[in-house]
């Protein structure tokens, strides 16, 4: 009796260590009786063939109905304890290479307590050798009386805990070990009878499937959550598309970019093709071809229409869904900010270039102004003093004469300053090269482009691209043209009742019988009076309140240093035209 032990292998093949099964039954007929076991709850006592179908279905449904892992395990453990008459149960699931205790069920009176726990094998009380055996062989181990002699007698747990009935079932789904169910009863031997085991095996296989499904479901949920996170974080626009041009789903970020609401998406059903401006259709077609051959679209820049018809610059990349070929996901990054920054940078650079070119001239103008201003102020003051001396009675002629002498002296001094500056400008080393005035014009237009846009001015350029080249200093010529253009722009700032148009023209001209190039800057601004015409190129002539009146004077000096002419005339209608003529360079005469 003491040596009695049943050792069952999973296939149901019963082995006994000491005796043949028949012998056993004969020797210990009491074993055949299905004695009521002092189990915690009702048990299934029918043989597998006679199992109550309802019970099986109930068990099966209970287990298979759970898709949430925690609840599945709970149901599994309860059902197992309940129907097997076990006193304690463990669910062991592999995690990587090691086995971990996932749940432990214990009975206390009539209640079953299932605790979900994450523990290593070492932390939980159980016969490790049995577990290892089952993991290795994937066969069930049933010990009818563990206190008897059997292959696992050496196990520390069995020796110390005196467990009587022990059952360890592998949970297998599609030849894959999903986990282990370990049940024990310390009070009674022979608890896990074949019929109960049959139910348990059914339960185990059902549980294995459910566990696997649940795990897959959990993995899927996790992956889904990760993807959801990406979609819902709205860091980038994401939409699901198909090749018919539809947008099947889109996240808030994308909707925000194109300013559609979720309702619009449902009601208007705007397609990604509808949102694409005509000039980007070609690019999209290339992207579609790319997605068809490679399954993905490398990110490219394009534009989408917003709901209000404005455009948003974006970076788009896409990939088809596996196995679909027709549907896919696209990510969209809003490039508005970058574009704005780029534009701003561009403008800043142009402004910097413009300023640095202007400053040379302005600094020059300022220093000349200061140089000339002193004697000029003295002239005015002496003139006034002279008038005062003349108006005393009797007039103080001696004093008046002194004053006039000072006026002559200071007038000459002012004129000397200008002469010096002119000479300086003439002597300034001109870096002449053969150049095309159209290039100068285009560079200047690029520089003032921002200014024109900012002030809402219209620009019309009529450039003759068959012009001969001229020998000129590029930078100085640019300064002249820039000055003329800025003057034209400023002359139009106060105009509100008519179109404000800046016209720039380049054309062939005749300069004293020689081939020459003419550049005209025409505005529709305040224009020039007859008075203004005469003085416009004089130093200190300015119509602007803060104008130093040096710009045009310097411009003329520069053009004259190039053997050219700078002239101005009022337009027939409104505004004025400033133009300069430069002789064509020698090689173009031939």
């Amino acid at each position: 009796m003491a040596n009695l032990c049943r050792f069952t292998v999973c296939a149901g093949l019963r082995l006994t260590l000491l005796h043949e099964p028949g012998e056993l039954d004969q020797l210990y007929p009491q074993l055949r009786e299905e004695e009521p076991v002092p189990g915690p709850t009702s048990t299934i006592g029918a043989s597998v063939e006679h199992l109550d179908l309802a019970t099986v279905i109930k068990v099966s449904q209970a287990v298979s109905g759970e898709i949430v892992l925690g609840k599945l395990i709970d149901t599994l453990m309860r059902t197992a304890i309940e129907h097997a008459g076990a006193e304690r149960g463990l669910l062991i699931l592999p995690q990587g290479v090691e086995q971990r205790i996932e749940a432990e069920a214990t009975t206390s009176g009539d209640t079953i307590i299932v605790r979900l726990r994450e523990a290593t094998m070492a932390e939980a009380a159980m016969p490790e050798s049995i577990i290892h055996y089952v993991v290795r062989t994937r066969e069930s181990v049933i010990l009818d009386d563990a206190s008897a002699q059997h292959p696992f007698s050496a196990d520390t747990y069995i020796r110390q805990q005196h467990a009587r009935s022990i059952l360890c079932l592998p949970l297998i789904n599609q030849a894959k070990l999903i986990g282990l169910l370990y049940l024990e009863n310390k009070l009674a031997p022979h608890v896990f009878t074949p019929t109960r085991i049959a139910v348990l095996k059914l339960l185990a296989s059902q549980a294995a499937i459910s566990l696997e499904n649940t795990r897959l479901y959990r993995d899927l949920t996790e992956r889904e959550a990760k993807i959801r996170r990406l979609v819902d974080a709205n860091i980038m626009g994401i939409f699901i598309w198909n090749l018919q041009g539809e947008i099947i789903e889109a996240n808030e970020a994308f909707l925000h970019m194109v300013q559609y609401s979720r309702e619009d998406l449902v009601s208007d059903r705007p397609g990604w093709t509808d949102l694409t401006p005509a000039e980007w259709r070609d690019r999209d077609e290339r992207a579609v071809a790319e997605v068809k051959t490679t399954g993905t679209v490398q990110p490219y820049e394009k534009e989408f229409f917003r709901k209000d018809g404005s455009r948003v610059p974006v970076l788009v990349g896409a990939a088809v869904f596996e196995g679909s070929g027709n549907e896919g996901v696209a990510f969209v990054l809003d490039l508005s900010e970058q574009k704005r920054a780029e534009d701003a940078l561009h403008q800043a650079q142009a402004e910097l270039a413009r300023v640095s070119r202007m400053t040379t001239m302005e600094q020059l103008a300022a220093s000349i102004a200061h140089e000339v201003n002193q004697p000029l102020a003295a002239v005015v003051t002496s003139g006034n003093a002279c008038l005062n001396w003349l108006s005393t009675s009797p007039p103080n002629l001696r004093k008046a004469r002194d004053a006039v002498e000072r006026i002559v002296r200071d007038g000459n001094r002012a004129s000397d300053v200008l002469k010096r500056v002119r000479a300086l400008l003439r002597k300034a080393p001109l870096i002449k090269s053969s150049l095309n005035v159209n290039e100068v014009i285009q560079e200047v237009l690029a520089l003032v482009g921002g200014e024109l846009r900012k002030r809402g001015l219209e620009l019309s350029a009529e450039l003759d691209f068959n012009l001969p080249s001229v020998m000129a200093d590029f930078v100085q010529l640019q300064q002249v043209l820039l000055n003329l253009v800025m003057n034209a722009i400023e002359s139009m700032t106060t105009i509100t009742d008519r179109p404000r148009v800046l016209q720039i023209q380049s054309r062939l001209h005749d300069l004293a019988g020689r081939s020459a190039v003419l550049v005209a800057v025409r505005d529709s601004g305040v224009g020039l009076s007859a008075d203004g015409m005469a003085g416009v190129f004089e130093a200190f002539y300015s119509t602007k309140p803060e104008g130093m009146g040096m710009g045009l004077w310097i411009c003329r000096s520069i053009i004259e240093a190039h053997d050219g002419q700078l002239t101005a005339q009022p337009n027939d209608g409104v505004g004025a035209t400033f133009q300069f003529v430069l002789p064509a360079s020698a090689e173009d005469h031939a």
Binding site: H370, L376, A377, A378, T381, S382, A385, K399, R406, D410
Partner: protein, 214 residues
């Protein structure tokens, strides 16, 4: 140069401008004295006459604005008219804030300068008068005895003789006598005049010690 006649000082480093300014100012019959450097003007001892200064902003060494700051600190500040070849707004704002009378850009209209000069001389004349008046009042006040000063303080704070007597712990008759002395020494006929004088030298009734509460 007759002491007491108004005088215009000019500081400009540009000789043409300096000469022209000197001549223009002289042509309207004003006394004028010109300097090339700010330092020269500072070291010059001015007579006792209404004066103003026509000052170029940009000067070598001590600039016009620096000179202005130094003059503001002196006992007898002088009204300043700035002239500049290139006046920028912050500079003129600063100058005006520090009390400049006018800020003119060269070339300016002569009448603008001459008007500014007249205005500045007016300001200086008034300031001088005020200064001498204050000095005179102070002299008179200093001639009062300690007790008379106390009586004066209480009188200008609006107390009646009886109250003053109570305040000082003397008789009404004595107070009346002190009060008569104060009026005489301060050379005033009325209480109103006395109060005005007290204000000029910074004596107010407010500084009075707390009155007796009993």
């Amino acid at each position: 140069m007759k002491t007491g006649d108004p005088i215009v000082f000019v500081v400009d480093d540009d000789s043409s401008m300096r000469e022209a300014l000197t001549d223009l100012i002289a042509s309207v019959g004003l006394l004028v004295e010109a300097f090339k450097f700010a330092r020269e003007f500072l070291e010059h001892r001015r007579g006792d006459a209404p004066a103003c200064l026509v000052l170029d902003v940009r000067l070598p060494g001590l600039s016009g604005l620096d000179l202005q700051r130094e003059l503001v600190r002196t006992e007898a500040p002088i009204p300043i008219i700035f002239i500049t070849g290139h006046g920028d707004i912050p500079m003129s704002v600063r100058a005006i804030k520090e009390g400049a009378v006018e800020f003119l850009a060269k070339p300016f209209r002569d009448q603008d300068l001459l008007d500014a000069i007249q205005h500045a001389l007016e300001i200086d004349r008034a300031a001088r008068q005020e200064r001498s008046l204050v000095a005179e009042v102070r002299r008179r006040y200093e001639s009062l005895t300690k007790r008379e000063r106390e009586v004066m303080r209480l009188v200008v704070s609006g107390l009646l003789n009886k109250q003053i007597a109570g305040e000082l712990g003397s008789s009404e008759v004595t107070v009346k006598m002190h009060r008569g002395q104060v009026m005489r020494k301060m050379k005033v006929q009325s209480l109103v005049q006395l109060v005005r004088m007290a204000e000029k030298i910074g004596i107010t009734g407010e500084a009075a010690p707390p009155t007796h509460e009993n």
